[in-house]
Structures are given as structure tokens and as C-alpha cells.
């Protein structure tokens, strides 16, 4: 039955299902300028909101005088914490179990913090009014260093004074948030104490920002006649926003409709709930007309969720031959003024405990301390599953450091420590069950493709030439092998604000054999409307071109937890497949009835059910769809619809092998990427074209982070990198072409074996770029240097190594 005859192959190709590089259905509107982003939403009478923000990183707010602003023609309202307090909306809960000021309540904790919300006729008047709000501040001592913070007498969060326990356990100091420990510290220390070799290193993963090209914003519209609140916004998780909005406002959830229109990139920045959303809702409730708030780029970089800012110290134990015997990781996490991480509730440091990486490490320990400072709140996952970039960077740097300690080749060190194919499902020392993998095959393929041995030979020649004074360029070979953990996640241990992290799909087949499917996720560029239709096409035998995918409208889509952490394919994609199978099960009964045989006597064949052994007797899915609506079929309800809420049994674990070849100008610190090879294994591949696009994009964001992109503060807590002049977003000129490759190791527990890919290239790319820089200097004694590797820092490394003498 499964022989691919040309005729079947043609029918299969017509479906444009799994594995097809189907062109995107989204593109028609985007290429014609007809996307509909939040700032395109325009409503009669709509007002504009704008924030008065703190110029100081830490200050007491002595007074706020709104008179001059209110006197300006066109200004409708100026909201402060005092106005929000009676509604109990001057503070809001964060996704991390902390709370955050919506508007400054007595003090400010970071530069750019929201102090007052001006509502005016248009954006010009609002901006003028912002200038007219007079705020008197009394400056307080500023702390921008988490280690200093833990020693300081200065209490940053006075609202928490005296609270020795937080949502994640005991607090050790008034500026301490939580301690999170995983693994066996005693056994790990024992291994370290008795190890033949221990490599130790401290590293800082600098603060950066997801910086999608579209900033965050919303339009709130309170319809007082019907009692309905509609909220359009840049929400990566619209359903959760609806629930939170209901809990905070007291408006019943059925009276709130949240719509995520087209989103201009998210990368984690649009997961959180921001003061602008709350203020817009309140302003619309107060004024009775729609209120729009869209932040500008400086506000986006200064005040909405940052990523990373992890201080990590590692100890890795091994035998003299290089077999790793234990790993110890201690992290100090700078969360800024409020802990506004977007992690599943029980994981205050996300999935940092994936930090044993792709290696069979028998014993390990991870300890993370969260700390308050006078910096912007956040700690979101920028193009990665929760803290996975930090974890992978950590282990991939520790491997390199261990290789130096052992005087071994870093590729070989990886190879001898990889989890073996036969060890899957693999239980990691820090508590995860890796679903599937074949690391050795991927690694060997990668090294062979790039001619790793040849590269090392060339590098050695280059070093010799450098030492002879014949060149000032060094060659770095960056390696990384990563294992991601995505697709949160099982409801038993993953939730956001109590909502289990399942996802959903609802399908309706129309009588003429086309369909609409709605999911609880929301695309921000990933192409869901294209790929989810492909999953369904293969499951239900209707062409992807006949299936409309809708997301992002909570009035129509089933509840879901949204799109981040590469969870759309692993969770909602699974829900789509499962819903498709429900459709198919009913279709089978209809087909059997139409063909006048027993249910078990028909079988699915690409786009039809056929009578077993009699392929010329069949009913296509189109026939079946029509029958579902126009015939009374005994024992069956009319119609053809299904819904699935999918609670994944486990996460999925995509992996990959990356190699970067870089040439570094020792004198100017300018790196040039000569070659980048990326092999990704994301299990079953739904749309190779889109996968490749995701890999290009993720690698480019990785390049940016590794080579210069940072949110930097001065000692006064001023943001030094608040515009795109200084916040590094590479252009086409700075980005190389990437070579992509793949292996396919399906997830055993996912209905179609898919694992998710959007974030892999970022997770694996950052250590690969960084390792390339560091590898170039390894022959001259470099052990580790922190990112970002911008020109001056690379130059500094060379200088510290005496290469400029």
C-alpha cells in the first residue's frame, strides 16, 4: 500500500504537506505593504499614550506636577501611580512571581522606568505633554553590579523589606531574589576533589536585548455599551494576556478579546506584560475611547525585557584521557529592578539545568542566585528556550577550556564525551530526559564537510607565519555542538502564571473540502500559516493550499500558551497533527459508509480512503467532507470538526553541529567570517525552505550577540547603547552567507517526530562565533575572554597577550 507509485507521488505532492518547501502564504500581503501590525490599527477617536520616564536609575519620586501638561490643548489625561492605586493597578505581577511597578510608586529603580502616562489627541501632543510633566526626584545610590548589590546596605526593593522568603524560596539578602539549585552538590564536589583534571573558568554572558524591528505596543478599546474590552497588541502569548488582563482588571474573561495582529518579530521581547499595556487599558476604560501606545526604539531598548546578564563560574572534572566526570555551575543572575523573567513558574532560571549539554556527564550541580540591581527588568529568552543560550554557551566554553587544560583537540574532546545514540532516551544528571539524538553522526558529518583536519593544518601554518612576522591575521576555528530543550512543556511541571503549557488546534472542514484551523500560538515571522497547513495536509489529505490557518484572536482561537521557546511546532504542531487524526478517524467512518464496507475495511491513502486491496474503490477527502454535511450518516453527527489540546509528554531536544572559520586582524580587532557551516537536526522537517531561513536568521542574531550587541550601562545606571547607532544590529554588509546542512533524528514522542528549529541557530551560533574568536588566540595562551567580541575587546585580548609588541 505504501509503494510510491508515480500516481501516488503526484497526489502526495499536490497536498504540499510535510517535507515540501512550500512558498509562504503570508508573503503576498507583506510584499505589498498590506501587513496589519499593531501600529496600523486605527480607530475613530483613538487617543495616543506616551510615557514620562525616569532619567535616573535610582531615585525617590518626591512629586509629580501634571498641571502644565493637562493645560495643553489636546491632552486628555495624565495618569500616575496615585491614579492607578485605587484600581490596584499601580503594580502588576510579573511572569516570574515578582511584582513590578506599572507607574513609579514612590521611587524608580532603573533609567527609563515608567513614571506617568500621558493620554492625548495625537502622538505629537502626547510627546509635548510628556515634556511638561514636572517630576521632582531625589537621587539615590545606584547599583549596577549584582555582586556589589548583594553586599550593599542600599535596599533596592523597599516594598519587599523584611520578606525573607520569595516566590522561589529563601532570600539571603535584601537585594537577593532567589536561589535555585539542581543536581547533587555533594557528589559533584566529591568528584571535583578527586578528579585527575579540573578546569575552572568564570565567564560573563553580557546583557543584550531581542530588539525585534517592530517595537512593543497595543491598542486598548473599552466598549462601554457592550462592556467589552478589545486589546490589539504585540503579544507572543495572547491568551495568557487575556487571562492576566481579566485577573488584573476584574473584567470577566469572556468580555475581553485579545488580538495579536501581524507581529514584526518577537524573539522573546513580546512575551512579557508591560506597563504600557496596563496603562492603555486603564486609559481606555477611563476615557471610553480607544487608546494606542507604541514605544519608540529607545524605550524598547531601555525599558522592555532584556536578555542574558548571567555571571557563570564553572568547574569541570575529567580523567587525563578527557572523559568528563563531573560539572559544577554557579550563576549570579542580574534581573534588574524587578524579576520580570519569562520562564515557566517552577523554573526561575529557566532550563539552565540543560547546562550539561550534549555530553554524558555522570554528576553535576547547578546553583543560580537571582539579584536585583538598578537596571531594566527582564531576563527573557532571546531567540532561545528559557536560558538555553546561557547554558549552551557555558558548557561549550567549558569544553574548550577543558581541552586547553588537557592539551587536547576540542573536537575530539567533544566526540569522546557525547551521549551515545544507544543511550537515548537519556537521563541527564540535572534531571532531563533527552528524547533522541545521534550526535556522533552529526559531528562526523560536520567535521568532514569542512575538512576539519585541513583547517587545523592551515591554522598551524598561519600561526607559524604570524610568529615569523609574515602576517598579522590569525585564523580561528569555532566549534559548537548544542542540544536544545524546547517545546515547553508537560503541564505537570511547566506553567505560566498557573496556566499549563499545553497548546491547541481546532479544525473545521468545510463542505467543499477546504478547511480552517485555529491554534493557540502566534507567528511573528515563523510562517505558521504555511507550515501548520502542511502538517494538516499530510494528516487530513487536503491540500495545504485549501487550509487557512488562523492564530492570535482569543475570541476564535482555542486557548494556547503562545509562541516562544521554539514551542509552536513541538506543542501546537502536535496538537494540529492530533486534531487532524481525529478528523481522519471520523472521515474513515464516513468513507466506510459511503463505500458500503466496514470501517476496518478502508484505509487512508494520501488524500482518500480506499477499500483495502481495491484501490479503484475510494472516496477522496473532498467527497467525504461533502458527505459529512449533506448526508444523514447513521450513528454520526453531521459536520467534520475536531479540536485537540495537546499536553506533550516531554520536551523535544533538537541538536546541531556548527563550525565557523574566522580571520582576525590582530591590529584592528576586526573579525571576518570566512565560512560558517551549520548542521541542524530538528527531527522531522516540515518545510526545508523555512527551516533554512530560520537558521540564517538565528545565526545572524548569534553573530550580533557574540560580536558586539549589548545593553551597556555606566556606573550611574545610564544606558549607553539605547539607539541603533550603538546597539549592534548587523546589516547585509556585515553578515556572511551561511552553509546549512542537516541530519534527521525524529522525536519519538512527537506525533510527527518534529522538534522545533527557530532558536537552535541562535543557541548554537553564539558559542560557535565566540569559540572562533577565542580559538584564534589559543595558540598564544588565551584561555577565555568575555563577549561581546567587538573590535576593541578583540584588540584588547591581542594586546593582553603581547601580540602588539
Amino acid at each position: 500500500m505504501n509503494d510510491m507509485t508515480p500516481e501516488r507521488e503526484e497526489r502526495s505532492a499536490n497536498l504540499k504537506g510535510l517535507g515540501c518547501s512550500r512558498k509562504r502564504v503570508e508573503d503576498a500581503r507583506f510584499t505589498q505593504g498590506k501587513g496589519n501590525y499593531v501600529d496600523d490599527v486605527k480607530m475613530p477617536g483613538m487617543l495616543h499614550g506616551d510615557f514620562v520616564r525616569s532619567p535616573y536609575a535610582h531615585a525617590r519620586v518626591i512629586s509629580i506636577n501634571k498641571d502644565a501638561a493637562l493645560a495643553l490643548d489636546g491632552v486628555v489625561a495624565v495618569l500616575t501611580a496615585e491614579d492607578l492605586a485605587p484600581l490596584n493597578l499601580h503594580w502588576m505581577p510579573t511572569l516570574a512571581g515578582d511584582k513590578q511597578m506599572v507607574l513609579a510608586d514612590g521611587k524608580v529603580l532603573f533609567q527609563g522606568q515608567e513614571v506617568a502616562f500621558v493620554v492625548a489627541r495625537d502622538r505629537y501632543v502626547a510627546a509635548d505633554a510628556v515634556e511638561l510633566v514636572e517630576v521632582e526626584y531625589e537621587e539615590l545610590p545606584v547599583i549596577t553590579d549584582p555582586f556589589e548589590s548583594l553586599k550593599s546596605d542600599v535596599v533596592l526593593r523597599e516594598d519587599l523589606a523584611g520578606q525573607t522568603t520569595g516566590p522561589h524560596g529563601p532570600r539571603k539578602h535584601h537585594n537577593h531574589i532567589f536561589t535555585w539549585e539542581q543536581g547533587d552538590v555533594k557528589a559533584t564536589n566529591q568528584v571535583l576533589d578527586n578528579a585527575e583534571v579540573v578546569a575552572e573558568e568564570s565567564m560573563y554572558y553580557h546583557r543584550t536585548h531581542p530588539c525585534p524591528l517592530e517595537t512593543c505596543g497595543c491598542v486598548a478599546s473599552m466598549d462601554k455599551v457592550n462592556g467589552k474590552l478589545t486589546l490589539w497588541g504585540t503579544f507572543q502569548a495572547p491568551h495568557v494576556v487575556r487571562t492576566v488582563a481579566s485577573m488584573l482588571s476584574g473584567i470577566e474573561e469572556h468580555n475581553i478579546r485579545v488580538i495579536s495582529p501581524d507581529i514584526g518579530g518577537g524573539f522573546g521581547n513580546k512575551v512579557g506584560v508591560y506597563p504600557g499595556y496596563i496603562c492603555s487599558i486603564v486609559a481606555s476604560i477611563v476615557t471610553g475611547v480607544p487608546v494606542k501606545w507604541v514605544e519608540d526604539r529607545m524605550e524598547n531598548l531601555m525599558a522592555t525585557a532584556f536578555a542574558r546578564d548571567y555571571w557563570m563560574t564553572g568547574k569541570i572534572a575529567a580523567t587525563k584521557e578527557g572523559k568528563i566526570t563531573g560539572l559544577h555551575c554557579q550563576v549570579t543572575a542580574d534581573h534588574g529592578g524587578f524579576d520580570a523573567c519569562a520562564d515557566p513558574t517552577k523554573f526561575p532560571a529557566g532550563f539552565m539545568n540543560i547546562c550539561t549539554g550534549s555530553y554524558d556527564i555522570p554528576v553535576a550541580y547547578l546553583g543560580v542566585d537571582g539579584v536585583y540591581t538598578n537596571k531594566a527588568p527582564g531576563g527573557v529568552s532571546y531567540r532561545c528556550s528559557f536560558r538555553v543560550t546561557e547554558a549552551v554557551y557555558f558548557i561549550e566554553r567549558m569544553i574548550e577550556v577543558l581541552a586547553i587544560e588537557l592539551n587536547m583537540d576540542a573536537a575530539e574532546l567533544r566526540r569522546i564525551n557525547f551521549i551515545k545514540k544507544e543511550q537515548f532516551p537519556y537521563q541527564s544528571a540535572l534531571g532531563w530526559e533527552y528524547d533522541s539524538g545521534d550526535y556522533h553522526t552529526a559531528w562526523d558529518k560536520a567535521l568532514k564537510t569542512v575538512d576539519y583536519e585541513g583547517l587545523r593544518k592551515e591554522q598551524a601554518e598561519q600561526v607559524a607565519a604570524f610568529k615569523r612576522g609574515e602576517t598579522r591575521t590569525l585564523m580561528g576555528i569555532g566549534l559548537s555542538f548544542f542540544t536544545e530543550i524546547v517545546g515547553a512543556g508537560p503541564v505537570k511541571n511547566c506553567d505560566i502564571l498557573g496556566m499549563g503549557m499545553f497548546d491547541s488546534c481546532e479544525i473545521r472542514i468545510h463542505p467543499t473540502g477546504s478547511a480552517v484551523a485555529r491554534l493557540g500560538t502566534i507567528s511573528q515571522g515563523q510562517g505558521h500559516a504555511t507550515t501548520f497547513a502542511q502538517i494538516l495536509a499530510s494528516e487530513i489529505g487536503l491540500s495545504a493550499d485549501s487550509i487557512t490557518i488562523e492564530e492570535g484572536d482569543t475570541d476564535t482561537a482555542p486557548y494556547g500558551l503562545g509562541t516562544y521557546g521554539s514551542r509552536s511546532t513541538p506543542v501546537a504542531g502536535a496538537a494540529a497533527a492530533m486534531a487532524g487524526r481525529k478528523i481522519r478517524a471520523k472521515a474513515q467512518m464516513i468513507a466506510a459508509y459511503l463505500l458500503e464496507v466496514h470501517d476496518d475495511d478502508v484505509e487512508f491513502d494520501v488524500d482518500r480512503f480506499v477499500v483495502k486491496g481495491v484501490p479503484e474503490r475510494f472516496k477522496t477527502m473532498k467527497d467525504i467532507a461533502y458527505a459529512a454535511y449533506n448526508q444523514a450518516i447513521p450513528g454520526l453527527e453531521p459536520g467534520l470538526e475536531a479540536v485537540s489540546y495537546y499536553d506533550p509528554p516531554n520536551m523535544t531536544y533538537p541538536f546541531g553541529a556548527y563550525v565557523c572559520v574566522m580571520d582576525i586582524d590582530v591590529d584592528t580587532g576586526v573579525p571576518e567570517i570566512r565560512r560558517f557551516y551549520a548542521l541542524d537536526d530538528c527531527g522531522t522537517r516540515i518545510n526545508p525552505m523555512i527551516i533554512e531561513g530560520q537558521v540564517h536568521g538565528g545565526l545572524t542574531e548569534a553573530l550580533a550577540v557574540a560580536l558586539g550587541q549589548e545593553i551597556a550601562y555606566d556606573k550611574m545606571g545610564n544606558v549607553k547603547t539605547a539607539t541603533l547607532m550603538d546597539f549592534f544590529l548587523p546589516t547585509a554588509w556585515e553578515v556572511p552567507n551561511f552553509e546549512t546542512d542537516h541530519t534527521v533524528t525524529p522525536s519519538p514522542h512527537h506525533p510527527i517526530g518534529a522538534k522545533g528549529v527557530g532558536e537552535s541557530p541562535h543557541v548554537g551560533g553564539v558559542p560557535c562565533f565566540s569559540n572562533a574568536v577565542q580559538d584564534a588566540f589559543r595558540p598564544f595562551g588565551l584561555r577565555h575572554t568575555n563577549m561581546p567580541h567587538d573590535h576593541w575587546r578583540i584588540w584588547q585580548t591581542a594586546n593582553d597577550l603581547g601580540l602588539h609588541e
Binding site: D39, C211, L213, G265, G693, H696, M725, F738
Partner: protein, 164 residues
């Protein structure tokens, strides 16, 4: 507030006349007054190019231009580059080669690319990368954008040759 000015613009072949404050930024005039929402605001400081339009034959960033400066100008936005039943080759090519993801940069990107191909009808990859360096994309890593533009150039040149 300063006095409003009488502004005339020709956008995508259509004349518009209205009163505006001189400080109104061209991008918001297009988006909010004329409902031409293809061009977007990405950075506010002329770095990202999401707001790119063609003004009197020049590629310009409309977030860094006052409507008063544009008074009297002829402007083309993404909306004027092709029509649903007659797309520009670049619009087809971006779709064909997956030259976009979230779509937010795409109108500015394609608008700039139309001008680039006027400046250099048969560009090399390097010339495309250099000529597009005023437009930031956060999603694609540019590889497929470059591919889209090079493919469009080939197609336009082939059509040109065929016509000659």
C-alpha cells in the same frame, strides 16, 4: 504649536493636499494621514530603513524627514510598486526565495531594492549587500534577501534583453 502649512504631495501617482504642522514626520503623514501603512517605523533614528520610500527619485528614510521638507514631492511607497494582479518582479522574487519572515522590514526593503536595481541594473552580490546596507532585517540574515534581489535583477535584465 506652530501654524499649519498647506502641503501637497503626490503619492503613488495620486495627489494629496492637506494642512499639517511642519514638524509632522513624513512617515506618520503617510501612515496616519494618508493611510499608507506599508512603510514602518523601526528605529526612529534613520538606521533601519523600514520607513524607506522613494522621494523625487531618491531612496530616503521617511522617519527622518519633516513633511514640510517633502512638500511638493513625488513619492513612491511599496503600495505604488506593484498591484495584486501585477506584482513587481521583486515582490514575486522575495516570495519565491523566502526573502522575508515577519514582513516588517519588507516594504522598505523592496522599495529600496527597486531603486538599487535602477542604480545598478546588474549588481554583484557585494553590490547588493552594500546597496541594501541601509535596511535592517532581524529575521532572515539577509542571505535570501540578497538571493531575491539578484534573481529579480536577472529576470528584469532577461526581460529587457528580450524586449530589445
Amino acid at each position: 504649536m506652530s501654524d499649519k502649512m498647506h502641503i501637497k504631495l503626490n503619492v503613488n501617482g495620486e495627489d494629496h493636499e492637506f494642512l499639517a504642522e511642519p514638524r509632522d514626520l513624513l512617515i506618520y503623514t503617510l501612515r496616519e494621514k494618508l493611510n499608507i501603512t506599508g512603510p514602518h517605523v523601526g528605529c526612529d533614528t534613520s538606521h533601519c530603513g523600514a520607513c524607506t520610500v522613494t522621494l523625487n527619485g531618491k531612496s530616503v528614510k521617511s522617519c527622518t524627514m519633516f513633511v514640510a521638507q517633502a512638500n511638493g514631492a513625488e513619492i513612491t511607497t511599496i503600495e505604488g510598486i506593484g498591484q495584486p494582479d501585477a506584482l513587481h518582479v521583486l515582490q514575486e522574487s522575495f516570495r519565491e526565495h523566502h526573502g522575508l519572515q515577519c514582513g516588517f522590514c519588507t516594504p522598505g526593503m523592496i522599495t529600496r531594492a527597486t531603486k538599487l536595481l535602477e542604480e545598478i541594473p546588474n549588481p554583484t552580490e557585494k553590490e547588493v549587500r552594500f546597496g541594501m546596507a541601509g535596511n535592517i532585517c532581524r529575521c532572515t540574515g539577509y542571505q535570501n534577501i540578497v538571493k531575491s534581489i539578484l534573481a529579480a535583477a536577472s529576470e528584469l535584465n532577461a526581460a529587457q534583453e528580450a524586449a530589445e
